[in-house]
Amino acid sequence: MAASDIITTTSRGQARERTAEYLVGRHRFRPAEALPWLIAIAVFFIFPERMTFGSQVLVMAMFALSLDLILGYAGIVTLGHAAFFGVGAYTVGLAAARLQWAEPISGLFAAAITAGLVGFITGWFLLRYRGLTLLMLTLATAIMLQETGNLRSDISGGYDGLPGLAFKPLLGIFDYDLYGRAYYLYVLAVLAVVFYFVRRIVYSPFGQALTGIRENVRRMHAIGSPVHRRLVTVYTIAAAIAGVAGALFTQTNAYVTLTVFDFDNSAKVMVMLILGGTGRLYGAFIGATVYMVLEDYFSKLSPTFWQFGIGLVLVLAVLFARRGVLGLFESVGKYVAERKRS
């Protein structure tokens, strides 16, 4: 909606109608949104031998998407998001290794429920805090879960993890093939479902309330929004999605170790999201893809060089491109459009 529209609209009813139209129009699917999905399907045909890596990229994209929900939309800064990824990963891992529950799809639901539960309980306590206190509490939660796993290494397998997990064929038909092709499509399908769900949330009134909390929490309190309940709700949802991502991680790799709870894992997903751009859904996809492909390429050359590079990229991103790759595109697009007009 351009500025001139507002000025010419005189009657109040008309203005309200236009606003409603604008809000509805915002969450209509745009043709460009098909692009990442078409690319993901194209990759399936172009790189058939790299499907295991492809699945990992998709898993990280889902993980980053769940972080985007709380970080990008609700403005909760956490250093312990790996906690939920780990809970999901260990839910299916332990179910398969100890309970012989190896059916993949029902495993995802179990992972979502346990991770969501952990998210609900920790979120209920932690989301009353902000700033450094919240950072430390989320970080401590993830490490405590890791230490608990280490303490009961007779069940969890400790830092050696649970290797060689065998999952049942997908839907009883598609077995785990050498290049993980069936799993790639499986992960892509789950990602599509999760994405649709997240997209609905973000454009719903609930999503608008979250953005309000991010932008000005005092004002949201003042207009009577139940801030804590909203935050706990979105934290639980994000935890459940991170749990599903973790479950898919275990299923595609057929192993899991306690390193999934590492601080590195929490930091990595945050870096991905920041690189792609927060609070814009597809930022998670771009960030995860760019990060994983670069990591795959550079860490083969030299892991040290890669670590230095990612550090440098972060510093430069904070100084010059605070809204990530997508933000950069937007700025360039705006600049070009302005040049055309003048």
Binding site: Y129, L135, M144, L151, R322
Partner: protein, 290 residues
């Protein structure tokens, strides 16, 4: 001496030595965070840099351990000013998230640089004779190095306490932590004050890094591995509070040591459990302002 008392004394002694290391390394972080509210995840990198300066001086140039500690803190303190003026000050008004990202980026770069020059294998440092072996304190023997840590830590606490509570510059720092705007409006140059405290804090971190080599060994991952502990000490103690940082270092140092002595399997669990308990009850830490 009975077995139980013996173990209790060992825990207290080791815990105290550990607490001194935590205090020396974290106190600068606490004051700078209290002053500017800046989340500095690269603090561990300064400590690591200090450690590597000590390693280089002692191993390659044959400098004694104690003089190299002094040189390391001065060098790192001076270098940190460059970072503060160049990078940090641009982000004082930014969000937590942006500060976290910038400083974690710096930490990654520091780790990579250290790996490139020193390799990933942990380094040790040659100690002078009087710091090796045990020292007799009348009723039993204690490791000399830890006794030295406790003496040095106590001396530093005394000096810092004096500077903080009894000098003009200390009064200015306390005023600026309490209310930055008010301090500025009565003519305190908070910007310059911050640069100064940042340099001293980083210098102390470097000293802590040098002291830590003998305790844990020094590898590039030090920058992130122990950072979590420093941040926890700061959060539990309360931002910008000397007293709080000391109390937090003592509590966490002793609890961590006790946990490792009594329940080796549980590892770091105790520290985090204590942290969560304290922060849930007092979100701003022991002596922080709510």
């Amino acid at each position: 001496m009975p077995q139980v008392a013996n173990i209790a004394v060992s825990i207290l002694f080791d815990g105290l030595a550990y607490a001194m290391f935590l205090f020396i390394t974290s106190v600068g972080l606490s004051v700078t965070m209290g002053l500017m509210g800046f989340v500095n995840l690269a603090h561990g990198a300064f400590a690591m840099a200090g450690g590597y300066v000590v390693v280089t001086l002692t191993r390659s140039f044959g400098v004694e351990f104690i003089p190299s500690l002094v040189v390391a803190s001065v060098v790192v303190g001076a270098v940190s000013v460059v970072f503060e003026r160049w990078l940090y000050r641009r982000l004082y008004k930014s969000t937590d998230l942006e500060q976290v990202l910038l400083t974690i980026g710096l930490a990654f770069m520091a780790i990579a640089t250290a790996t490139y020059f020193y390799g990933p294998i942990p380094k040790s440092v040659p100690l002078p004779g009087w710091l090796q072996g045990d020292v007799n304190l009348g009723f039993r023997y204690f490791p000399s190095y830890r006794a030295f840590l406790i003496v040095l830590g106590t001396a530093l606490i005394a000096v810092l306490w004096y500077v903080f509570e009894r000098t003009n510059i200390g009064a200015k720092i306390r005023a600026a932590v309490d209310n930055r705007r008010m301090a500025e409006s009565v003519g305190i140059n908070v910007d310059r004050l911050f640069t100064l405290t940042f340099a001293i804090g980083s210098g102390l971190a470097a000293l802590g890094g040098g002291l830590a080599i003998q305790l844990f060994g020094l590898s590039p991952s030090f920058a992130v591995l122990y950072l979590v502990l420093f941040l926890i000490v700061v959060a539990v103690g309360g931002l910008g509070s000397l007293k709080g940082t000391l109390l937090a270092a003592l509590v966490l140092g002793v609890f961590d040591t006790a946990g490792k002595y009594l329940l080796a399997d549980a590892g770091g669990f105790f520290v985090y459990a204590v942290t969560v308990a304290v922060l849930l009850i007092k979100p701003a830490g022991f002596y922080g302002r709510e």
